[in-house]
């Protein structure tokens, strides 16, 4: 017995204490509870993993039967295997760092205890999601993190844009969750169980068409949670939340839940080729699409948000290409450098007292050196420069993509170049050149910079954690030789992106605008995020509204239904003219008719049906 | 046939003992309250007022039985009858001691054991409301009606936390039979439900006791008879034996609650520590101590007649102590002693509280039941069930 339940329950305790009594507690106590619960949870993860040793097979702890209905038994079971181990370390490790950072970041904000209560609740649900040994428990965590995401995006609930963004995230996620729920129903019907241990071994023997359908529905769920096209629209808006939230939930952990879930269901996808192919297409499409939008954003957090969408696309590309371990590897390294990017961005914003627009920054390199140097680590990591973290994982995905279909590799390389470009652009605009704002930047306190330093270290060296090797018992290493030429091309692409950005924004600052003007319509298109939100508005929201008003209300309702109803009513009125004799408005006379009717039924039974049995 | 005879004998014994207890409980209460208030208490009728209950009974019986005009006669007469019946009924399932063998007959010291005994007690106690509500209504008197309404609302409200508090130790005992509940608890303090692992029931014990005070309409929850606002509450219009019936019902309810508490939480007839450690000598020692005290005060009397009465009591106590040392007597009486000791202590608590605490305000009383006691009871039940399920 390793008492796995302690891992999620510790943050839950933190949530309960802070949520119930936080208002009355001193700030120090709130901090101690919030940090303590997460750090203890992290420590318990480490202790458990050390105690479990090699983990060749999944280690399962069964606590009690949650419910049982017919043959379906759903237990409160937690399990740990190597995939879970990786996720646990990422979630609690990065989570702890971000909690520490948030202490500094949130210290002057209102609702301090509320923030940490939500954050702890999020940790609880995320850990349930990762530890759950069946789809339903995973779903509990899945919905829970969605709830926390909603609460935290709308944390500044006095700001309308924040609450709107929260609602948007919630609603878009519902679409995905709908797919997930359908997938679960289908799994229950097909496999008669929701346990991972029962479903996955049986997958090989089921018809491919069913598996494909399950896979596609699961993918729909994953698209919602992991912000893949076409359901990515909520993630950029989610940046309305406090920056630590963006780092923890909308970069490092929650949005990777979809990736985790698809990887967890690899047994199903391996037997459903069409579904897996779809994963790759969606991943690649999202990666390119979001990267192009990222090129032209001016809000520093929006740039990183689109970058997150794009990188998640990469992960899906890896999963779809059959290299599940590469996808998870990228998930890990991405958690390091993207959390770092966001926290660094938070530090910049903190330094500039809330300024988020890149056009009003500049020249910060000397003003906030610690932030700059730590961010630089994330920069090289995401740009795919060897030997830093992003290089290893991105390379693994690109190689797998090449093995899967060479054209995907080329698109991937192009995206890598764009990634390098937009991150470099953000860096150059913020840290180089002349100061363009009217701020007096100041370096963040150590409680914020320390986590940055740790994450910087992880971004630099994280690539040497050989996650694919560790995951080998679960996901066989993909074949495909380590082709040096392909690696070189992607590195060159990354360098080219950086170089181009340097040319545009450092060497010849006017060039960028010139190019933008030259591209004209295309730039406008990208600048406005391909008008996707407007498109959705026009294609979904408006038609539904208009359709409801014009067709359903005035047409169907007023015309057809009311017409029918009126028609029926006039018939009824005629009949009612006769029947109104018994509608006396007297309760007792109604009751008499009821009794009369039941006597008739009794007589009918006596005459026709029944008989001694 | 044998069964019927034994049952009749048991019923007779229980009824006689219970009635005496009820009568003397009144004497004890007056004495204790008096001593709390530094008075003497009843001391005229018989030595130390020991015959006072008898005198009270005679007085109540011989008083004029007044039926006020404008009352609803049928319900007016029915109400005290209902109240006292429901109060006495639940004694029938209370186990006073373990199995004994007397004159070759083996029997349990309990009138009957239902396997839904706990539910039976709950059911009967919930019926007790009618006596009071009807009394209030049938008296055709504003104060009585208000008192009746108050008290029935109070009893319904407090029944909820009470039932929830009962449910928690039941999870430990895993049975609804009162006899088996006692048997499931062991023969020392830490095997009683109140301290038993994995889920010590201290909280539900307190809740049950508080709800018990409210159920019996005792201080500090005696709102229905708050003299300064409601005259005498629901029994304003009652006199003579009918008044005595309500009085008796109140004391019978107190006895029931005390018995239920000691069965559910304090191990019923189980001793405080195992017999092997000499728990059988506790009772003789106590009686011997009592005898010595009487003897001392008899030799140094405060009043003249104490010189004769106290030594007599001392002799009686020493006799009892000696008799209890005999093994055959001890086997029969020891469980009874422990049960009586626990129930007696709780009854003393009832009186003690009456002597110390002031009365609640009505809204405080209801708020306390719904907003504090009930949530705590629910929480306690949840925690208990979790602990029982996990361990």
């Amino acid at each position: 017995m390793q008492h796995l339940w302690l891992i999620p329950v510790l943050p839950l305790l933190g949530f309960l204490l802070n949520g119930l009594f936080g208002r009355r507690l001193a700030k120090g106590a709130v901090t101690a509870i919030a940090l303590g619960s997460v750090l203890l949870s992290f420590a318990w993860v480490v202790k458990t993993l050390v105690g479990l040793g090699a983990l060749e097979t999944a280690y399962i702890e069964r606590y009690f039967t949650w419910f049982q209905s017919g043959d379906l038994r759903v237990g409160a079971d937690l399990s740990v295997d190597r995939l879970t181990a990786v996720m646990l370390l990422v979630v609690t490790g990065v989570g702890s760092l971000i909690h520490i950072y948030a202490v500094g970041y949130m210290t002057h904000e209102g609702g301090y205890y509320r923030f940490f209560a939500y954050l702890n609740l999020f940790m609880f649900f995320m850990l349930v999601l990762v530890l759950g040994a069946n789809f339903l428990l995973l779903f509990v965590g899945w919905e829970g993190v969605g709830l926390c995401s909603y609460l935290l995006i709308g944390f500044y609930f006095l700001k309308k844009s924040a609450t709107d963004a929260g609602k948007k995230a919630f609603i878009v996620n519902r679409i995905g969750d709908f797919g997930f729920s359908l997938a679960m129903l289908l799994i229950v019907i097909t496999f008669g169980s929701l346990d991972f241990g029962a479903v996955f071994p049986a997958a090989a023997s089921k018809p491919e068409s069913t598996l494909t359908l399950i896979g596609l529905l699961l993918l729909l769920g994953a698209c919602g949670k992991s912000a893949q096209a076409p359901l990515y629209v909520w993630l950029p808006d989610a940046m309305e939340g406090p920056t630590p939230v963006s780092a923890l939930i909308h970069a490092a952990t929650m949005v990777t839940a979809g990736v985790y879930m698809v990887a967890r269901s690899s047994a199903i996808y391996l037997h459903a080729h069409a579904a897996q192919e779809m994963v790759a297409y969606i991943g690649l499409g999202t990666a390119v699409f979001a990267a192009t939008i990222g090129l032209a954003q001016n809000d520093i957090k929006k740039v990183f948000a689109y970058s997150t969408v794009s990188q998640l696309g990469y992960m899906f590309l890896g999963l779809g290409a059959g290299a599940f371990s590469a996808g998870i590897f990228h998930l890990v390294t991405h958690a390091f450098f993207k959390a770092l990017l966001f926290l660094g961005a938070g530090s910049v914003i903190h330094a500039l007292e809330g300024e988020q627009d890149l056009r009003h920054m500049g020249g910060l390199r000397t003003r906030i050196p610690v932030t700059f140097w730590t961010l630089a680590c994330a920069w090289v990591a995401i740009a795919g420069i060897p030997p830093f973290a992003g290089f290893h994982s991105k390379d693994a995905i690109l190689l797998a993509a090449h093995h899967h279909a060479p054209w995907m590799y080329w698109v991937g390389v192009l995206t890598a170049a764009m990634t390098a470009f937009y991150v470099s652009r953000a860096m150059f605009l913020a840290f180089f050149g002349e100061p363009r704002g009217h701020h007096h930047p100041h370096e963040s306190p150590p409680v914020m910079t320390a986590p940055l330093a740790v994450l910087a270290l992880l971004s630099l060296a994280g690539g040497f954690l050989d996650v694919p090797k560790f995951l080998e018992p679960l996901f066989p290493l993909s074949e495909g030789a380590h082709d040096f030429a392909l690696v070189a091309i992607s590195v060159v692409a990354g360098l080219a992106g950086i170089g181009l950005a340097a040319l545009f924004y450092v060497v010849k600052p006017g060039l960028a605008d010139a190019v933008a003007n030259a591209l004209g319509g295309l730039y406008t298109l990208v600048y406005n995020k391909y008008f996707v939100d407007e498109l959705y508005d026009a294609a979904v929201v408006r038609p539904v509204e208009t359709g409801s008003r014009e067709a359903l209300w005035k047409g169907v309702d007023a015309g057809l239904i009311d017409g029918a109803a009126n028609g029926v009513a006039s018939i009824a009125r005629a009949t009612g003219g006769l029947l109104r004799l018994i509608q006396s408005g007297n309760i007792r006379s109604y009751a008499t008719w009821v009794v009369f009717g039941s006597i008739l039924v009794l007589v009918a039974i006596g005459l026709v049906g029944g008989g001694a049995r | 046939m044998e069964f019927i005879v034994i049952s009749l004998v048991k019923a007779a014994i229980v009824a006689a003992v219970l009635m005496t207890t009820l009568a003397y409980l009144q004497w004890v209460e007056r004495k204790v309250i008096a001593h709390i208030q530094l008075r003497m208490g009843p001391s005229r009728v018989g030595p130390h007022g020991l015959l006072q209950p008898l005198a009270d009974v005679i007085k109540l019986i011989t008083k004029e039985d007044l039926i006020p005009p404008h009352v609803n006669k049928f319900f007016y007469l029915l109400a005290p009858f209902l109240a006292v019946t429901m109060a006495l009924l639940s004694i029938s399932v209370i186990p006073f001691g373990s199995e004994v063998e007397l004159f070759g007959y083996k029997t349990w010291m309990q009138m009957t054991d239902l396997n839904v005994g706990v539910l039976f007690v709950l059911a009967v106690s919930s019926m007790g409301v009618y006596g009071i509500a009807l009394a209030g209504w049938a008296s055709n008197n504003k104060y009585a009606l208000l008192g009746g309404l108050r008290s029935s609302a109070q009893m319904i409200s407090y029944e909820l936390p009470m039932s929830l508090a009962i449910a928690a130790p039941l999870l430990l005992a895993n049975t609804l039979s009162l006899r088996e509940i006692v048997q499931s608890q062991g023969d020392h303090l830490f095997a009683w439900s109140i301290f038993k692992l994995p889920a010590p029931q201290l909280i539900s014990f307190v809740i049950f006791l508080i709800a018990g005070f409210a159920e019996t309409n005792r201080v500090p929850f005696d709102l229905p008879e708050a003299e300064n606002e409601l005259v005498a509450g629901f029994h304003t219009e009652y006199s003579s034996m009918k008044f005595a019936a309500f009085f008796m019902a109140e004391y019978a309810n107190m006895v029931t609650v005390s018995c239920m508490t000691s069965i559910l939480f304090l191990g019923g007839w189980q001793p405080l520590f195992p017999v092997s450690l000499g728990s059988n000598f506790v009772a003789p020692a106590l009686f011997a101590l009592g005898g010595s005290l009487c003897l001392y005060h008899g030799l140094h009397p405060a009043r003249r007649k104490d010189r004769y009465t106290l030594p007599v009591f001392a002799a009686i106590f020493f006799g009892i102590a000696l008799a209890l040392l005999a093994p055959p007597v001890a086997r029969v009486v020891m469980p009874l002693f422990w049960f009586a000791a626990k129930a007696g202590f709780l009854l003393f608590c009832f009186i003690w509280v009456r002597g110390t605490l002031p009365r609640f305000r009505y809204d405080q009383l209801m708020g306390f039941a719904w907003k504090f006691l009930f949530p705590v009871a629910v929480l306690n039940l949840l925690v208990t069930s979790l602990l029982v399920a996990v361990f």
Binding site: A612 | N72, F75, N115, L122, A133, L145
Partner: protein, 166 residues
């Protein structure tokens, strides 16, 4: 013994039920109804349904009827007036009642002519344990739904009974 007990409590039940219908004062009706419920509880015991018998007393007699009595006292409802009874009701009432009774009894006798004879102890599956087991396995969903129903009822009652905010 079974027959005597049955007849005794059936008689009490019927007398009380008639009383419910013919008494003019609601309090008398309510108390008669409690009598019906009490004797039904005894009949349940004879049928081996211990738990239900106790639940009948606790829930019906101890809770629901208290609520009734409470409302009657609160509204201080007086006796019903005998004026203005409809003629049809008087003419049709008694025969209609007997017609319904005969019809129901006929159906029962026709459908169950050789049903079992009830003896006390003939069925012992009605303990709290058995009922609970079935309730929390097979009937778990309905059970949960009833809790929702009760919640709705509480909310409804509170909304209906609260003082108007004016």
């Amino acid at each position: 013994m079974d027959v005597i007990l049955f007849l005794a409590f059936a008689a009490i039940a019927v007398v009380c039920a008639v009383n419910v219908v013919v008494q003019t004062h609601p309090i008398s009706s309510a108390l008669s109804l409690i009598g019906v419920m009490g004797s039904l509880a005894v009949l349940y015991l004879l049928l081996g349904a211990e738990f239900i018998a106790m639940a009948q007393v606790i829930v019906y007699a101890g809770a629901i009827m208290v609520l009734f009595v409470f409302v009657i006292m609160l509204l201080n409802a007086g006796a019903e007036s005998r004026r203005g009874r409809s003629l049809t009701a008087q003419l049709l009432g008694i025969p209609g009642f007997f017609a319904l009774l005969v019809l129901l009894s006929y159906t029962v006798l026709r459908l169950f002519p050789d049903a079992a004879h009830v003896k006390f102890g003939g069925f012992t599956g009605g303990s709290a344990k058995d009922v609970g087991k079935l309730l929390f396995t097979e009937y778990l969903l309905p059970f949960e739904l009833t809790s929702v129903l009760i919640l709705i009822a509480i909310v409804g009652a509170v909304v209906l009974a609260r003082k108007e905010l004016e």
